[in-house]
């Protein structure tokens, strides 16, 4: 009833929200969760092309549960290849011990 899974985390610029979501969908993941995030990384470039006054959250953080490591790596590679040359971003994998309840997984 429960299931091992990988959790892929991708933090990147808000302008990429829809494009990353599309990649996740195409890779066959059953879903994803996304939150507004701020952050600081190597690029020192925080401009997302939006006025910044009062809008500190110019990043988004995706969390995608995938049934295996391979799907996570595929998504991550695709996102990185398409965007990480020009946009700031980071991607990493956590292990999820068990998916306890989900509508489809």
């Amino acid at each position: 009833m429960t299931q091992k899974a990988s959790k892929l985390v991708i933090v990147t610029e808000k302008v990429l929200l829809k494009k990353v979501a599309k990649i996740i969908d195409k890779a066959g993941a059953t879903g994803y969760t996304v939150v507004a995030a701020g952050g600081k990384g190597s690029r020192g470039v925080r401009s997302s092309g939006q006025p910044s006054v009062n809008d500190t959250f110019t990043n988004v953080k995706f969390e995608i549960l995938t049934p295996n490591r391979d799907m996570a790596v595929n998504i991550s590679d695709e996102v990185a290849a398409q965007f990480f040359d020009d946009y700031s971003g980071i991607a990493y994998i956590c292990d999820v011990m068990e998916v306890l309840h989900a509508h489809t997984f």
Partner: protein
Amino acid sequence: MRRKEVLMDFISDFLTKFVAQLQSPTLGFLIGGAVAAAVSSRLAIPDAIYKFIVFMLLIKVGLKGGIAIRESNITEILLPALFAVLTGILIVFIARHTLAKLPNIKVVDAIATGGLFGAVSGSTLAAGLAVLDAQGMEYEAWSAALYPFMDIPALVTAIVLASIYTSKQKKLAAENEYRSKQEFYGEQKEYGQQRITASGYPHEEQNHRVEIWPIIKDSLQGSALSALLLGLALGLLTRPESVYESFYEPLFRGLLSILMIVMGMEATARINELRKVAQWYAVYAFIAPLIHGFIAFGFGMIAHYATGFSAGGVVILAIIAASSSDISGPPTLRGGIPSANPSAYIGASTAVGTPVAIALGIPLFIGLGQAVMGG
């Protein structure tokens, strides 16, 4: 003698207007916002309010235009619209052949900056209209509708130019890499590896042509231009006079004053980003708005004498040219020229270009218009 008199009249007239403008609330609120941010005040206009104010200003400008266009001879717009398109394109080419040639300037960054300065700021336009109204200088109702005619061509030109440049560079790089593989081995490799960490593996050579329609669509769908166009359509097709006069019109100047505070704060906040890029951006951002305005003013004068385009209309054309996009332009460029550094173009536009356009450009072109054409 006549000429000399005119010149003196012009100079004295202009100086009077200019000084008055420096005491005007519009400019005062802009500077106030900039100073507040500079002294690290925690003064904040919530993002939702900022977005709503922009919406209110542009739908108001649109409504006014739409209501008035009903009675105008719309064919008059043709020549000014053509000039707007020309100015928008010209501005990008100017950046490509001046800014891009300066030391420490990446070509794509320069092109993107040119695109942003060619594009139009709804806030600056609103500020300009408010000052024209306050001074009773008349202009064609459809003048605000010139906005997209300069905005979109500038963005499209910038994205196309950047794309052409990038593909050429890639070809050159491919050849160079082959030739110089040995020479810079050490340094190159390290750099290469770091990039691989981030982006996984080198792009396959996607030799795609730039598609222009998506860029135009993207611009038209932007929140600022959408609000303006929605207002235009509503003004043209429905009878919103009563709600316009009881709501949109009375709130206009007040909301504009708040927007000026926000833009002043933005300018200060972006100064730091501008500092990180080459100094030349600051120089460009200071001079360019005025030059662009003069170019458009010149075009406008042609229309003035050719088809009777009003003095106020000429001033609006100049202000539109002097402005640089602050809301819709940046995300479009972020998507269209992803390799350009946003700190360069947004910093240049928001921190210097917009304040210069509002503080110097608006009084300058109004003064000029009144002195030259006696509007």
